[in-house]
Symmetry: C2
Subunit: 468 residues, 2 copies
């Protein structure tokens, strides 16, 4: 292995091969601090050619690689195992915006670009890159692509997959696939791009991408609606899509308990309603025309929803600051949860039409198994994506409750499966949900995935132990 | 082989194994009448189980299969070769709409459903299935998926790929992959769905799909703009996207020569302008609000385009009939071409920003090589997709000109490649463009495709000779 490491130093320079525990430490623990792996070394290439040369060296020495961007993943996909035999390959130094083409509405970027910088570079050209999520200040686009990240704008603009037109990938044997095409239509053979998107670095290392841009909306307006039940939230969604079409750019469900938790942990945040309601929906409308257009459309839609008793009440933000305040309520739910104590998290999705039934069915199952447990249920209702988190019953310690994690997961995931849902909506599988994937996917599908993995990575050195 | 065929008869019944030349004939010639293959038999299964049983029989006897839907493909992808050793497997009897879920905005269909029936079934539930193309009255959704069909609504709604959430596929060894998920977010392993979409039946046989539906727009309005050049058409596109966002649902470029050809061959169609213009753009705006909203937005946008000298003139359709008349001009271009004689067709795409430069550069190259040849250039400009067809110079017969096809292709495709474009935007590769694919794709990309083909279809019996 000394031979291998000296080869790596020859490729990237001594300064970019980290080997001491303290140098490596920041790369080896996951975002939530639940797991710390070991690495033979942390490699920090500065160019695509260097990535390719490192991968060739790894292939020659049969050294397994773990690609890492901003290390903000939630499923232990970007940290090495505890063997100390894997190298961590950080893409963070590949952080240039290579080109913005405002007429083609595309942008070509290095994988290590931070999402927020990409959003800013697009805005500087009068365009919108719509991907938006909590970690945007530190996650990288390579990681977003490798996990097919979701976020709050999926309802209108799709997942990261739908925002990518082309990729550059270093393959497991070190060849570079230059697929950086900026085309809206290209039916020339198999869709390799979408195979790498969401593969969590197990089929190759994404080093660059061509992203789709959109025109900047002229105005966005936010409102908070209060409703009696998730079933009413579904009615509201259908009504709003019919009235507003693509102008509906956000639709986030939050239960009463979620906002009570936020109010308790962050008392300085706004409290939009005098009395509590069972459910809330945070709405966002955007207009390509004007603020006046967005306001008029929102008022008509909310009027119709009130007239039909779909909603009980609504608060419309009358300023950018008020709008930000409403979004803060939504964004503070995970923070409030963390302050209140540990809980068992599930990032699930369902057919939108089944959400109310899922919520009605699953709560009682959990309550029967864990009497008094608290549900923190919120999420991107327009995409069928719930963050369905379970907090301990009063009197049970966090530690004791976490011992029940497998049992809690079983109740939730079995119910998800029975409603035709997914056990990982937007976070991916990583090492964390690998066993769950093996449990819930059909053998036909698992075998296809294994066949593809073996075909593209016959040595099994690309992020092994993740997904499969 | 008698053994094999009697096994097939046992699976689907005698009536659905066609063996006489006259019974098989309708399945063996391609849509444009350029090629007629031979088949051992035409198999017409009536259920997914029957498809799977037939595929197992084929695998056991090493018989190659050619899946076929409506047989409207343009690249010889759905007809067998001339060996007479392949079976044609028609999906046309699998033609049920299994389910429409208006709240989830999805529809589950058999692969053999005709596109127009799907559009109608969606409309009956107040929803829109936006895929729309010339063959919609006879093409099937299975074929649309297998070729990732494009059409006129891609600008707003994407290709068939973007309109599909889940698939059911019979694999090359006869297992059924049940991936009929109706989820907007599902990050559980490799994206197998998108691997089958666009694979032209070479990796498995699509038997069912979950499709995305959209709310029906309340109104659509059409206009025809006249412009000096393709560069102005790009300016108009940017301006309209900025003003109209997702309300812009159609943007079709047509050259003066295209409309002259239509006027000559179909003199009863409308002639919107008194004097000719170098280029035209057919625009469509749709509103989720009202006709009044669509009209106001279109008038503002056209006013701005006139004020900035982006367009020279415009005609706005003031009725549904007028709107249909404008679309007829566009739809009659291929028909007018066919009546006027043969020509050499290219279905190409480019980065939108490069289209004007491509057109300026390629015309002179063709004129230098084939003096006096006529360009019939039209297409989905908003997607960067041109139908770039070359008709013979005056005095040269169709037959003589077609002998030059390879040379014409070389000029066009080399130019497409130099501008970062694609040699097949929406029609696919099939058998027709297989050699061109081998010429223009990188060895890295071809090798990946071959590795995936070998991994999923190790016997090589799934539509061999297509794509690779």
């Amino acid at each position: 292995m000394m031979d291998f490491l000296s080869q790596c130093r020859g490729i990237v320079g001594d300064a970019y091969v980290l080997e001491t525990p303290s140098d490596m430490a920041p790369f080896l623990t996951d975002q939530r601090g639940r797991f710390t792996g070991k690495a033979l070394a942390v490699l920090r290439p500065g160019s695509v050619d260097q990535v390719a040369a490192l991968v060739r060296a790894c292939a020659a020495h049969r050294v397994a690689m773990v690609p890492q961007g901003g290390n903000t993943g939630l499923v232990l996909g970007s940290v090495p195992d505890i063997s100390g035999a894997q190298v961590l390959l950080s893409l963070a130094r590949l952080n240039s915006v290579r080109q913005v083409d405002a007429v083609n509405r595309t942008m070509t970027v290095d994988a290590g670009c931070i999402l927020q910088h990409i959003q800013e570079a697009a805005a500087a050209e009068g365009c919108l890159f719509p991907l938006s999520l909590a970690a945007e200040g530190s996650c990288t686009i390579g990681g977003n692509l490798a996990t097919n990240a979701g976020g709050t704008a999926v309802l209108r603009y799709g997942n990261t997959r739908e925002l990518c037109l082309g990729l550059e990938v270093v393959m497991p044997q070190g060849e570079v696939w230059s697929g950086l095409r900026g085309l809206r239509k290209d039916n020339t053979g198999y869709d390799l791009r979408d195979l790498f998107i969401g593969a969590e670095g197990t089929l190759g290392i994404i080093t660059g991408a061509v992203l789709k841009l959109y025109p900047q909306p002229k105005a966005s307006i936010t409102a908070l609606a209060a409703l009696p039940s998730p079933a009413h939230a579904l009615q509201l969604l259908v009504l709003m899509q019919d009235y507003c079409g693509a102008s509906l750019t956000g639709f986030e469900l939050m239960s009463r308990y979620c906002l009570e938790l936020v109010a308790e942990q962050f008392p300085s945040l706004p409290k939009p309603f005098a009395a509590p309601h069972p459910q809330y929906v945070l709405l966002e409308l955007s207009s390509s025309e004007s603020e006046q257009h967005a306001v008029g459309l929102l008022e008509r839609t909310i009027g119709a929803a009130l007239a039909r008793d779909v909603i009980q009440d609504a608060v419309v933000a009358s300023s950018v600051a008020q709008s930000a305040g409403l979004w803060q309520l939504r964004e503070h739910i995970p923070l409030a949860q963390a302050k209140a104590g540990k809980n068992i998290k599930h990032d699930i999705s369902l057919p939108v039409s089944r959400i109310a039934d899922f919520v009605s069915a699953t709560g009682p199952l959990l309550d029967a198994a864990f009497p008094g447990c608290q549900l923190v249920c919120f999420g991107h209702l327009g995409d069928g994506n719930l963050h369905y988190n379970v907090a301990p019953p009063p009197g049970i310690s966090n530690e004791d409750f976490l011992l029940q994690q497998d049992k809690v997961n079983r109740v939730v995931y079995d119910s998800v499966e029975s409603f035709g849902g997914s056990i990982s909506a937007e976070h991916g599988i990583g090492a964390l949900k690998r066993d769950e994937l093996a449990r819930y996917k059909s053998p036909v599908e698992l075998n296809m995935m294994r066949a593809i993995k073996a075909a593209l990575d016959p040595l099994g050195i690309m992020n092994p132990g993740k997904i499969l």
